[in-house]
Symmetry: C2
Subunit: 248 residues, 2 copies
């Protein structure tokens, strides 16, 4: 499908993407040497490609001469359908949820073996979290992740359960216990976590169904452990129902 | 800076970006022929590049064989600093504004001769608008745009005023009147529009100041003309003050 490696330019696009991927977790910018090391590209190739990407506004050069991802890539990324469809349909419902709770409200989809956070709404009163829009977190350790995992194909479940690691001392990783919990998530229609991803926080999450009735996303609320997330279950279900209907 | 055109691969990156830019306003996907026409690239080049970009998850192939911008580009775009810095700092304040108003809340920056919408919060009760995150609107016809234009360099102001076109019959385009209005925006510290971009809506917007005291962004609220936007001015100023302090 991708054509042979003899096609002109094939390597350039791949290398450019390697370069851009190097900025994951480095939004404050990267020096040329860091960029070369992270991308695995030689220094001369890195310099040439970075210079070209700066000329195209895909990267920008900061005053301290470090490189950062530029505005043009952000604009192009907003043309993606993950943003365009699901996010646009869900956002008003997520806003309602935020307004009702003032807590962290998440919309996530499963992407391979991780939960991809499509949107995170939060205010100044919300508990601080590691999640961010566009970021990934383990499927087995978060509320939305557990919902997505509970409805994932058996091979994905087997793989994730076999390699589940502890994010905190409370993360459930024992295969038998984790599988029983996933069955419970399917049965009762929601997931609940207590300090499994971030100490001091707990969460509740429910599934969002697509046009064919399959689980296509999950929405959840994360609160401080001093609060009770389960009281947010009813409004979450209303919001998930609204999004599911709108997706049909 | 960009190096000579003899550099290997230079053309490929440019062409790939031309291809991606073709998806502006076409988030539901493009057939190969449309993609070729919009990007200005020959059909064979378009097919080869599109196939390669699909293999890299930058584009995706829809069930109806059309092409669309894929998830990977969205994730890469979220690494951009426009999103990373300003949006992250501003979002809690924008949420507060949304919660207080349930209306459309905008965060925009000036990018050349247009207003680039960094974020738009809205709920089901908000009046429908043409704005979207990552989209552009004219500087002279929107509330946030007028604030940004009022603080733009003289050459930008001259250019925008000279080429201002009517989005509605109410858009102020007469150079003398527009320039007087911009002076008024600077003097009183906010912009106000009535049906200048979208019939049936009006807006109020205020500036956000960066570390050096320059106007770096604008936030605004858009409501139906049956409501009064000026009552949102006080909370907008509080929010803009909060964002400005946080940016320092």
């Amino acid at each position: 499908m991708a054509g042979g490696s003899t096609q002109p330019g094939r390597g350039v696009l791949e290398k450019a993407l390697d370069l851009l991927n190097a900025f994951e977790g480095a939004r404050d910018g990267l020096a040329l040497t860091e960029l070369s090391r992270r991308s695995g590209l030689p220094l001369t190739t890195t310099r040439r490609l970075a210079t070209e990407l700066v000329a195209q506004d895909v990267l920008e050069r900061l005053p301290d001469r470090r490189y950062a991802v530029g505005r043009r890539l952000w604009q192009l990324g907003l043309l993606a359908r993950v943003q365009g469809d699901l996010r646009d349909v869900a956002l008003p419902f997520l806003q309602d949820m935020y307004e009702a709770t003032r807590e962290n409200v998440h919309l996530a989809v499963r992407d391979g073996h991780s939960a991809l956070y499509v949107e995170r709404l939060h205010g100044r009163a919300s508990v601080p979290l590691v999640s961010r829009a566009g970021g990934r977190l383990p499927l087995h350790a978060t509320g939305v992740g557990k919902v997505l995992l509970a409805h994932a194909p058996p091979d994905v479940v087997a793989e994730v359960v076999a390699h589940a690691t502890k994010a905190t001392p409370y993360t459930i990783t024992e295969p038998g216990r984790l599988l029983r919990e996933l069955a419970e998530v399917r049965r009762r229609g929601y997931a609940r976590t207590v300090q499994e991803m971030t100490l001091g926080t707990c969460s509740v999450a429910v599934p969002v169904f697509g046009a064919e009735g399959a689980v296509v996303a999950s929405i959840g609320v994360v609160v401080a452990t001093t609060r009770e997330p389960i009281r947010h279950l009813a409004p979450l279900r209303v919001a998930a129902g609204g999004i599911s209907r709108a997706l049909r």
